[in-house]
Amino acid sequence: MKKTVAYTGNEAVAFGMKQINPDVVAAYPITPQTEIVQIFSNFVADGLVDTEFVTVESEHSAMSAVIGAAAAGARSMTATSSAGLAYMHEVVYIAASMRLPIVMQVVNRALSGPINIHCDHSDAMGERDSGWIQIYAENAQEAYDNLLQAHRIAEHPDVMLPVMVCMDGFIISHALENIELNDDAFVQDFVGSYQPDHYLLDVENPLTVGPLDMFDYYFEHKRHQAEAMRKAKQVIIDVGKAYGEKTNRSYGLYETYQLADAETAIVVMGSTAGTAKAVVNELRKQGQKVGLLKLRSFRPFPHQELAQELQHLKAIAVLDRADSFNAFGAPLFTQTRAALYDLPDRPQMINYIYGLGGRDCDLSQIGQVYQDLQQVVAQGHGGEIVRYLGVRE
C-alpha cells in the first residue's frame, strides 16, 4: 500500500521514528532539528508510540542517556544539529567504541562561530572520525528511507556501530515535498525486533561496559572497530537492496547520474545533488558529456568503488559544504582524491567549497563548475585546486 503525502524532511523523519517505535528516545531541541523532537513528543503524548521519551537537559545528556539505554539493551534514537552535535562530541566517540547501534538523525547546520542556523555539513564533518556510519540524503524521501534502513545497518552482527543519518537543515528539513510513505506493517517487518547478545539488564549474565583500557588492549579494540566499519560497506549495500525490493527505492553507497559516458563530473553529498542533476540534464541537452556522483555513505568511505566509477573521467570537481581550514582541501575532496591515487590515469581534480552557513547554491553556480571543468580539461591541469564557490572574495 503506497501512500503519497506532502511532508517536510523533519515531518518525514519524525513519522519514520513513529513507525520504528524505538524503545527509547532521548533528545534536546535545536534549530533546525527541533520539529522532530516536537512532532515525536506529540506521538508520545497521544499514545501513538510506546517509546520511553527522555526530555534531557542537553545534547551531552541526550547522547549519554541513549548510550545508557542502548547498553541496557534498548533500541535507542536521538536527533540533533550543529552545536548540539558538537556538544555531544565526547560521547559520540564513546557510543561508537562501545559498539552500540544507536541511530541519530542529524539535521545539518553550520557550526558556530559566527552563530548561524542554516545548512552546511561542518557539524557532521566534525564527527567524521568518530566511528559512526554517516549516510546523507538528497531530499525528504531519502531522509525517510535512510532512517528506516539505519537500525538494520547498525544492528547487523558484522557491524554493531551507531549510524548518523544526515539531511540538510532547512533545505530538506523544512521544505515541503511529496514523499511516498511505507505502511507501518512493512516498516515493523523490515526494521525487525532488536535482541542484543550482551546487555546490562541481562542480570543473569552481568556485564561491565566501558572499563579502563590501557596500552595492552585499547589498540585491539580500536582495530576491531575499524574492521566493523569496513564490513559496514557490504551491509549498507545489502540493506539498501532489500529495501528497494519492497519499495522500488533501492540504495547503495552512492548514486551515479549520467556518469558512464561522462567526461567531467561533480562529486557531491546532500541536497545539492538535486540541483546538480538539473544542471546535468540541461547540459546534456546541449550535448555536453557531464555527469554526477552523489555520495550516500561518507562513513564508511567507498574508496575502491569511487576509483572504479570515476576512473574514466577527464576532470572531476568535488563539492564540499564544509571547510577543513587545513590550508588545502575540504574533507570530501581530500578523501575522494586519495581514493583515486592508485589509478594509472588519474583524472584532474578540483575542490569547491560552497554553501557555508546556508549560502544558496543555485543552478548558475553548478553551471559554472561544469564550465570550469571544461577549462581544466582544455588546459590539461587543474589550475587552482581548491576554490570557493559563491563567495565574495
Binding site: 524503545d23 527509547v24 532521548a26 510506546d50 517509546t51 520511553e52 527522555v54 526530555t55 534531557v56 537537559e57 542537553s58 551531552h60 545528556s61 549519554s64 542517556a65 541513549v66 548510550i67 545508557g68 539505554a69 542502548a70 547498553a71 541496557a72 539493551g73 534498548a74 535507542s76 565526547e90 560521547v91 564513546i94 562501545m98 535482541q195 546490562l200 539488564l201 541481562d202 542480570v203 552481568p206 556485564l207 561491565t208 561496559v209 566501558g210 572499563p211 579502563l212 583500557d213 590501557m214 588492549y217
Partner: protein, 313 residues
C-alpha cells in the same frame, strides 16, 4: 533495617582485588552502599570517570559482580537515567522479566559537584527512579589532587597550593547536599563512611523511595587529606564530630539531623591532623584565618540546625 550481622552475611557485590589505594574511602563507601541493598534485588551501577572507575574496572578485570557501565566523567547521572529508562521500556514490552531492579550511580566530587552537576540536576529533575551517590573526598584526587568546589577553604591542593601570598583554597565549599534538597526530590541525605549504620539506613531509604534519591558520602582520600591510611575512618568520624560534615537527611522536604555530636570536636584539631592544612599551623598559627574557617563551619551548622528544627547543644 538490616542488622550488622545480617549485613556481614550478605554476598559481596563489590569484590576485593581492585586497585584503590590502601585506606581509600571510596571503595568503603561503595561496599557499604551495595551491602545495604536487598541481596535478592539486582542493581545496575553507573560510574563517573574518576578514582573509583579507574581502579575497579581495568580491562579485562572488574570488581563489580553486577552489571556496570562507565561512559564519561560528567555524565554518570544521564547514563544511569538512560539505563533506568531502558528498563521501563523493555519491561513494558515484555522484553525482560518483570522483576524489580535498582539503579545507582557513583561519582566523586569532581564528577558530581562540578563537571557532572548539570547532568545530575537534569536527571534528578526528571524524576528517574535512581540513586546517585557522591563519594566526596574534597578534591579531584584522580588527576592528582586539584581543588574542586567541594574542597574546604584553606586546603592546599595542587591548583590551590599554600603559597607565600595565598594560603590554600580561597573559597568556601559548595553546599551540594543543600542544592540537591532544593530539587525537591523525595530523598536527600548526607552520610559518612565512619557512621556505617547511619549510612546503611540512608541507603535503604534511598533505594526504597520511588523516584530520585541523592546521598553525599564523606569518603576521605588519604593522599588528598594527608592522613595515614589506617586513620581514614577516624578522620571521617572527626569530620562529623566537629560538624564539618553533619549527618542529616531530607525526606519529602523534611529536614532531620540523624546524628547529634555529644561533644563537639574542635574543627581546628581536625584541620591540624591533615597535611593539606599544615600551612595554617606552621611556621606560625594563622589565627585569624582559622577563626574565619571555624566561623564558616559554625554558620553552616547553625543554618542546618535551624532547618532541622533543633537547638544547638
Amino acid at each position: 533495617m538490616a542488622t550488622l550481622k545480617e549485613l556481614a552475611q550478605r554476598p559481596e557485590r563489590f569484590t576485593g582485588g581492585h586497585r584503590a589505594c590502601a585506606g581509600c574511602g571510596a571503595p568503603i563507601a561503595v561496599r557499604q552502599v551495595l551491602m545495604a541493598l536487598d541481596p535478592e534485588v539486582p542493581v545496575i551501577t553507573a560510574c563517573a570517570t574518576g578514582c573509583l572507575e579507574v581502579t575497579t574496572t581495568i580491562y579485562p578485570y572488574t570488581a563489580w559482580r553486577g552489571s556496570f557501565i562507565h561512559s564519561a566523567f560528567e555524565n554518570a547521572a544521564a547514563t544511569i537515567s538512560g539505563v533506568e529508562t531502558a528498563y521501563l521500556a523493555l519491561k513494558k514490552r515484555g522484553k525482560i522479566v518483570d522483576k524489580p531492579m535498582k539503579f545507582v550511580a557513583f561519582g566523586g566530587d569532581g564528577g558530581t559537584y562540578d563537571i557532572g552537576f548539570q547532568s545530575l540536576s537534569g536527571a534528578m529533575e526528571r524524576g528517574h527512579d535512581i540513586v546517585y551517590i557522591c563519594y566526596d573526598n574534597n578534591a579531584y584526587a584522580n588527576t592528582g589532587i586539584q581543588r574542586s568546589s567541594a574542597t574546604p577553604r584553606g586546603a592546599s591542593t595542587t591548583t590551590t597550593p599554600a603559597g607565600k601570598v595565598i594560603p590554600g583554597k580561597p573559597q568556601n565549599r559548595k553546599d551540594l547536599t543543600g542544592i540537591m534538597a532544593a530539587h525537591n526530590i523525595p530523598y536527600v541525605a548526607q552520610a559518612s563512611i565512619s557512621h556505617y549504620m547511619d549510612l546503611t539506613r540512608k541507603v535503604e531509604k534511598a533505594f526504597n523511595t520511588p523516584g530520585p534519591a541523592f546521598i553525599n558520602i564523606l569518603s576521605p582520600c588519604r593522599l588528598t587529606w594527608g592522613t595515614p591510611p589506617e586513620e581514614t575512618i577516624d578522620v571521617a568520624r572527626q569530620a562529623v564530630e566537629c560538624c564539618f560534615w553533619p549527618l542529616y537527611e531530607v525526606e519529602n522536604g523534611n529536614w532531620r539531623l540523624t546524628y547529634q555530636p555529644r561533644e563537639r570536636a574542635s574543627y581546628s584539631d581536625w584541620l591540624k591532623r591533615q597535611t593539606r592544612f599544615k600551612h595554617l599551623f606552621k611556621p606560625e598559627v594563622k589565627q585569624e584565618l582559622l577563626q574565619e574557617l571555624q566561623a564558616e563551619v559554625e554558620e553552616r551548622w547553625a543554618k542546618l540546625q535551624a532547618r532541622c528544627g533543633s537547638e544547638n547543644k
